[in-house]
Subunit: 93 residues, 2 copies
């Protein structure tokens, strides 16, 4: 069993209303940042999980996104597996 | 003036308490996901901005992070400039 760092990035779907992003855009305008055309606000969830393989880690986090982390009606997600942190046990001789 | 897609990823600093990440970890346990060691919850802000160059776009978004998007006491941020969407005007002959 290895330990993997996995990142899930969850963003509002294109076309879906994003009040948080609009509020940020308004705040940036108030601070006199010019040239900001669009702001979309989403989440990055960084997970450290145990899994047999890189593919197992990715598919576990995709299931987590479907069931808890993202709202598939209004959000899209992408999952990237970053690295192995350590390997426990004697799988590699 | 070109148009750039810039992503700012804002995460709680290591060691800083992250109640949202802890809540997600608890939720995943309730859903019987096993092997989740740590969860950290942060934000991804995706911006479409006008700037003269890639470096100008990155430095503008870093200033936005310092002034509005991130709380530098408890959060770190990273900025990546993704692509040029279009180029206006006749800068390139």
């Amino acid at each position: 069993m290895s330990v993997w760092n996995v990142k899930a990035i969850i963003m509002p779907k294109p076309g879906v209303n994003d009040p948080q992003g609009e509020a940020i855009r308004g705040g940036l305008e108030s601070l006199e940042f010019s040239g900001v055309r669009e702001v979309r606000a989403g989440k990055q969830i960084s997970l450290t999980i145990e899994a047999q393989s890189r593919d197992d880690a990715a598919s576990a986090v995709k299931r987590m996104c479907d069931q808890l982390l993202a709202n598939p009606v209004i959000e899209t997600y992408s999952v990237t597996v970053d690295s192995v942190e350590e390997t426990d046990g004697g799988v590699n001789a």
